[in-house]
C-alpha cells in the first residue's frame, strides 16, 4: 500500500513483492512521476537510488551489482548503493532512498522528508 503522509513529511511507498526484481539485479520503478532504481543484491539487502547515472544518464538499475556497489552499464562508473558516493570517479553522488522489506516480503521505499 502506498500511503502519502503530508507533502513534506517522509512517505513510504510499497513497490510490491521483492520477486518483481530478479535476484542480484535492479529495476527502475515509476513512482508518482519519479523514477527510482531499486536493487536486490544477493546479500539480501534492498537499496534504492536515483534511476539515472549523473555522468551520461545511464540506467543504473541495469548495472552490475555486488559488494554494496553498482557499476553503471554505460561507462562503468561505480557508486556505493548505501551512500550514493562515487568510487574511483569524480561523478556527482547519487540520491539514495531508505529501502526495506515488509514482513510479507514487499519492497518499501521512503521518499522525501529529509
Amino acid at each position: 500500500m502506498s500511503a502519502v503522509v503530508g507533502t513534506h513529511a517522509a512517505r513510504q511507498v510499497n513497490l510490491g513483492s521483492l520477486e518483481r526484481i530478479p535476484i542480484g539485479e535492479g529495476r527502475t520503478f515509476a513512482i508518482e512521476g519519479l523514477q527510482i532504481a531499486v536493487f536486490r543484491p544477493r546479500s539480501g539487502e534492498v537499496f534504492a537510488t536515483q534511476a539515472s547515472c549523473p555522468h551520461a544518464n545511464g540506467p543504473l538499475a541495469d548495472g552490475l551489482v555486488g559488494n554494496g556497489k553498482v557499476v553503471c552499464p554505460f561507462h562503468s562508473y561505480k557508486f556505493d548503493l548505501a551512500t550514493g558516493c562515487p568510487e574511483g570517479n569524480s561523478c556527482a553522488p547519487l540520491t539514495t532512498y531508505p529501502a526495506g522489506l515488509t514482513s510479507g516480503g514487499d519492497v518499501v521505499v521512503t521518499l522525501g522528508g529529509r
Binding site: S2, N14, L15, R42, D62, V65, G66, V71, S76
Partner: protein
C-alpha cells in the same frame, strides 16, 4: 586439527625475509610456525640501498624493510645475530651458533652470497689483536650494514680510497666514497668496466662519465698484494706499479654461500642445486636467492629472487601446489654513479645473423645498443638515457615482433602515439582519448599517492575505455614513478576480484566443481562479490562448463541479459544473423517489414555484412525477434561475431577458392560461441583480400592450387595489426578444424577482454603454431572435442522471446502498484506483478 607446519628459514636477507612475507601473504598465519636464523643482529634491510647509505643519501634506518617488531607482530621467531651451524637431515633439525636446536618440516636455505676476496699478499692483519675483521686495518668488503658503518668511520679520517673491482658493486662503493670527499680510484682486472652487463663501447662510455665525476679508473690491472704494516697504505700491481690509498674496498665478485648446504651433504655445483620446485637434492629442503642454482643459473638480481620466493610460497602454502619456477629473463635498470643504465638480455650478437643496432653520442654520455634476433629483441643496453627502456622492456618480455625501422625503437620520431615518447610529452597532451585524460592528470595521480598502474587507471579513468592507450599510460607511469612503482599482483589476475591468474582459477573451478559465479565468489574470494568481476567469471564458467553451468543472469552485462546492444538513449540495436553476409530477397523483405512495423529509427548496414535495426525499446525485443524469425547475430556480446566474405569463386573473375561457402559454413558452425573478447572473422577468395581477412581475429585467404592461408591475431579497430600466417592448408575443412582449435585454445588461455591481437603476440606465433598446427603439446584432439561439444550445445538466445527467464526480463520500468504510470507494456506488467509463472 593438524599441528602447524614447522618452516625454518636460514637467512634473513632479501630472499629469506621475502619468502616469509610471501608465505604470510598467502596462508593463514596459524598454518605455519615460522622460525628464522639471521646472522645480523637486526631485522631485514634492503641490501640494494647500502650504496645510498655509503653515499650519505640514505640513513641506515631508512633502508629497513622489516624492523624486529614486524617479526613478533607476525608470530615469526627470529634468532637475530644467530647463524645456523649445522643441519641434521636425518633428524630434521637445524642447530644454531648458540647451540639451540630447531626442528623443521620444511627448511629453506637463503644464505645469499659471500664476497670473494682474492688471496692478496699481506692481506691479513699484521697484529691479529688489531681490529675486528680478518683483514688488514682499512680493508673492507661491501656486503652488510656493518661493513658500511666501519667503512664510513674510517672514511672520515683518511684522504684516498681504492676500490678493487669495476663491476656494479665496486662502482657503487666508489660513488659512495667520492660523495664523502675522498679521492677514489677504481682498479679493474678487465679491459672495460661492468663487463658482465656492458659491451666494450658502453663500458668505455661509462668510464668517461665516471672520470668526469672525479673517479680515476685503472683498467687491466692485476693486484698482487697490499702495502703497509699496520694499516693499508697502498696496492702492489703485477706490472710492478703501485697505488697509494688509505682505505680499500674489495668488490671482486661474490660467491654463492653454500658452506652450510655443503656440510649437510646437499648437491652443490656453483650454487645449491634446486629443481623447478626450488627443492634441493633433499625434498624437505629448499633454497632461494643468490645461494641457489637453478637450471645452471645463479641470479644476483632482486627480480628473479622475488619470482623464486613467490613460486616457493605458492607451493608451500598449497595455493598452487604444483607451481614451477622456470627461470627468469634478467634485466636491470639502475643508476651507476648517477648515470642511468638499463640492461636486458644479451649484450653481444651471437652470430652474423643477429642484427646489432648501435647509437653513440659521447658528448652526452649516451650509448644505445639493440640485439635483434629473428625480428625480436634479444638484448639491449641503454646508457645515459633510459627513456626508451619501458617500451623496450615490454618488447623484450613479450618477444613481440619489432617494427621494421629499428631506429623508431630508440627515437620515436615525434609520433605522439608512440609509447617511448611519453616522458617527453607536455602535460596537456591527451593520452586517453576515450575519457579525455591528459598526461598531467596521470602525473598528478602519481604525485597524489597512486603506486600502481592500476591505481592510476582507477583514479584517472585513463585506459578504461577502449584500452588502446594503456601502453602509453604505462610508459608515463614508469617514467614518472621509476623505482617507486610497485608491481601490482592484480595485473596478472583473470578478473580483479579473484586473486588468481586464469590458469590457477580454471584449475580451482574445475577441482572444486564451481558452477556459478556466486559459488566462485564464495569459495575463492571469501564471499566478496566484486561487480567488476562478474561478467568475466560468467564468461569463463560458460567456457568451462558449457550448458552445465548454473546460470546467474545478474552476473551478465545488460546486453547479455536481453540479447541486444544498449544504446546511449537506452534503446537497443537488433542485428539478426546473416550467415556469411549472404541473404535473400525474402529475408530482406522480412527485415523491411519489421523496420516498418516497429518504426525502427535507423536501418544500418554494418561492417560485418549484416543489417542493424536501431532505436528499439527493450519491451519490443521479443516481438521483433519473433517477427524476424532469424537467429541472433550476437552483435552485443563477447563472442564470435561474423565471418565476412567476398563473392569468391562462384561469381568473381579472380576468385580461386569458394570463400562464400566457407564463410557461411564457419558462421553456421561457430555462431554464438562465447569467448574472452569478440572475434571477427573473414574469408577471402583470392589474395586481393576484399573481405580484409588479414586484419581479422582469424582470416582465411584462398590461394592458387586449392589451398588456404590462415591468419590469426589481425585487427583493424583501436589497434591495427596484420594477422600472422598460422598455416597454409589444402582444404576448407582444414580451415574449419584449425579455426575451431585456435578459438578453443584462445577461450581457454586468453585473459578476459584480451583480443587475439594481444593474445597471439603474448603467446608468440611459434607457440601458437606448435599447439594448433603441430600439436606439440598433444592437446589438439581435446581442443577439437571441447569445441565440438560447445558447437553441439548452441542454443539461440532469441528463443527467450517465448521463454523469458524472469517476468520482467524485458521490462525496464515497473510501475509502483498505486502509481499512475503510462504503461506501454501493460499485459506483460500485469503478468509480472501477479507473480504467475513466466512463459505466457
Amino acid at each position: 586439527m593438524t599441528s602447524p607446519h614447522r618452516l625454518v628459514v636460514i637467512g634473513n636477507g632479501m630472499a629469506g625475509a621475502r619468502l616469509v612475507e610471501d608465505v604470510l601473504a598467502r596462508a593463514n598465519g596459524d598454518r605455519f610456525r615460522i622460525t628464522m636464523f639471521g646472522d645480523e643482529p637486526y631485522g631485514n634491510y634492503n641490501r640494494i640501498l647500502l650504496s645510498g647509505v655509503l653515499a650519505g643519501t640514505q640513513k641506515p634506518d631508512d633502508i629497513f624493510i622489516n624492523p624486529l617488531d614486524w617479526y613478533t607482530d607476525n608470530n615469526v621467531t627470529l634468532h637475530a645475530g644467530v647463524g645456523a651451524e649445522r643441519v641434521d637431515r636425518e633428524a630434521k633439525v637445524v642447530y644454531g651458533s648458540d647451540g639451540r636446536a630447531e626442528p623443521y618440516d620444511t627448511l629453506v636455505i637463503a644464505t645469499g652470497s659471500v664476497p670473494f676476496v682474492p688471496p692478496f699478499e699481506n692481506l691479513a692483519p699484521t697484529d691479529p689483536s688489531h681490529g675486528p675483521g680478518p683483514y688488514k686495518d682499512g680493508v673492507y668488503v661491501f656486503r652488510t650494514l656493518e661493513d658500511c658503518e666501519r667503512m664510513l668511520a674510517r672514511a672520515a679520517d683518511v684522504k684516498s680510497a681504492a676500490v678493487i673491482g669495476g663491476g656494479l658493486l665496486g662502482l657503487e662503493a666508489a660513488r659512495g666514497l667520492v660523495g664523502r670527499g675522498l679521492e677514489v680510484s677504481v682498479v679493474h682486472l678487465m679491459e672495460h668496466l661492468m663487463e658482465m652487463q656492458l659491451d666494450r663501447d658502453a663500458g668505455l662510455m661509462l668510464q668517461k662519465s665516471m672520470e668526469q665525476l672525479g673517479v680515476k679508473v685503472h683498467l687491466g690491472k692485476s693486484t698482487t698484494g697490499l702495502l703497509g704494516n699496520g694499516s693499508i697504505t697502498g696496492l702492489q700491481f703485477k706490472d710492478g706499479s703501485t697505488l697509494d690509498c688509505d682505505l680499500l674496498v674489495v668488490a671482486a665478485g661474490i660467491r654463492p654461500n653454500v658452506a652450510l648446504a655443503k656440510s649437510a651433504g646437499l648437491e652443490i655445483k656453483r650454487g645449491i642445486v634446486v629443481n623447478d620446485g626450488m627443492a634441493t637434492s633433499d625434498p624437505s629442503i629448499c633454497a632461494v636467492g643468490e645461494c641457489a642454482e637453478h637450471r645452471g643459473m645463479v641470479y644476483g638480481l632482486v627480480a628473479p629472487l622475488w619470482e623464486q620466493t613467490a613460486a616457493l610460497a605458492d607451493r608451500l602454502t598449497g595455493r598452487v601446489e604444483d607451481k614451477v619456477y622456470e627461470g627468469s629473463r634478467t634485466s636491470t635498470k639502475l643508476k651507476v654513479m648517477g648515470v642511468d643504465l638499463a640492461v636486458m638480455g644479451e649484450k653481444q650478437g651471437r652470430d652474423a645473423d643477429d642484427e646489432v643496432v648501435t647509437f653513440s653520442e659521447p658528448g652526452r654520455g649516451v650509448y644505445h645498443k639493440l640485439i635483434v634476433r629473428e625480428g625480436k629483441l634479444a638484448g639491449a643496453i641503454l646508457l645515459g638515457d633510459t627513456s626508451a627502456a619501458p617500451a623496450l622492456q615490454q618488447l623484450f618480455d613479450r618477444s613481440t615482433p619489432l617494427p621494421d625501422s629499428r631506429a623508431s625503437l630508440l627515437f620515436p620520431a615525434g609520433d605522439a602515439q608512440a609509447p617511448m615518447s611519453a616522458a617527453d610529452l607536455p602535460d596537456d597532451a591527451q593520452i586517453c582519448n576515450c575519457n579525455g585524460v591528459s598526461k598531467g592528470a596521470i602525473v598528478g595521480a602519481l604525485r597524489g599517492g597512486c603506486k600502481t598502474f592500476k591505481a592510476v587507471c582507477d583514479a584517472t579513468r585513463a585506459g578504461t575505455g577502449c584500452g588502446s592507450c594503456k601502453v602509453q599510460v604505462k610508459a608515463i607511469v614508469e617514467a614518472v614513478a621509476g623505482d617507486n612503482l610497485q608491481d601490482d599482483p592484480a595485473a596478472h589476475y583473470y578478473v580483479p576480484g579473484v586473486a588468481m591468474a586464469k590458469r590457477e582459477l580454471v584449475a580451482a573451478i574445475k577441482e572444486m566443481n564451481l558452477r556459478s559465479v556466486s559459488q566462485v565468489f564464495d569459495v575463492l574470494a571469501a564471499g566478496r562479490e566484486d561487480p567488476g568481476s562478474k561478467a568475466g567469471l560468467a564468461s569463463l564458467l560458460k567456457t568451462i562448463w558449457g550448458n552445465d553451468v548454473i546460470e546467474e543472469r545478474d552476473a551478465r552485462f545488460i546486453n547479455d541479459r536481453v540479447h541486444a546492444n544498449i544504446q546511449k538513449d537506452r534503446t537497443y540495436s537488433v542485428v539478426p544473423r546473416i550467415f556469411g553476409g549472404v541473404t535473400t530477397a525474402a529475408d530482406l523483405r522480412k527485415i523491411a517489414d519489421v523496420a516498418d512495423k516497429y518504426n525502427v529509427r535507423m536501418v544500418k548496414i554494418t561492417g560485418g555484412q549484416r543489417i542493424d535495426l536501431l532505436g528499439l525499446t527493450r519491451e519490443q525485443l521479443p516481438a521483433v525477434w519473433k517477427d524476424l524469425g532469424m537467429p541472433s547475430g550476437h552483435a552485443y556480446t563477447k563472442a564470435f561475431r561474423t565471418c565476412k566474405t567476398c563473392v569468391g569463386s562462384e561469381f568473381c573473375r579472380f576468385g580461386v577458392g569458394d570463400s562464400t561457402a566457407l564463410g557461411i559454413a564457419i558462421e553456421k558452425r561457430f555462431q554464438g560461441l562465447e569467448s574472452p573478447a569478440k572475434m571477427k572473422l573473414a574469408t577471402a577468395g583470392c589474395p586481393r583480400n576484399c573481405s580484409e581477412a588479414t586484419v581479422k581475429d582469424i582470416g582465411a585467404v584462398a590461394i592458387e592450387g586449392g589451398r588456404w592461408e590462415i591468419y590469426v591475431g589481425g585487427a583493424a579497430g583501436a589497434h591495427v595489426r596484420k594477422g600472422d600466417l598460422l598455416a597454409t592448408v589444402d582444404s576448407p575443412e582444414e580451415v574449419i578444424t584449425l579455426t575451431g582449435r585456435f578459438m578453443q585454445w584462445y577461450r581457454e588461455e586468453a585473459k578476459y577482454l584480451e583480443r587475439t591481437y594481444d593474445f597471439v603476440p603474448r603467446m608468440g606465433l611459434d607457440r601458437v603454431r606448435a599447439v594448433i598446427v603441430d600439436d606439440a603439446e598433444g592437446i589438439a584432439a581435446r581442443l577439437d572435442a571441447e569445441m565440438q561439444k560447445t558447437v553441439d550445445g548452441f542454443v539461440d538466445p532469441w528463443l527467450e522471446a517465448d521463454r523469458p527467464v524472469h517476468p520482467s526480463q524485458f521490462i525496464p520500468l515497473l510501475p509502483a502498484p498505486n502509481a499512475k504510470v503510462e504503461v506501454t507494456a501493460g499485459r506483460a506488467e500485469a503478468h509480472a506483478f501477479s507473480g504467475a509463472e513466466a512463459g505466457r
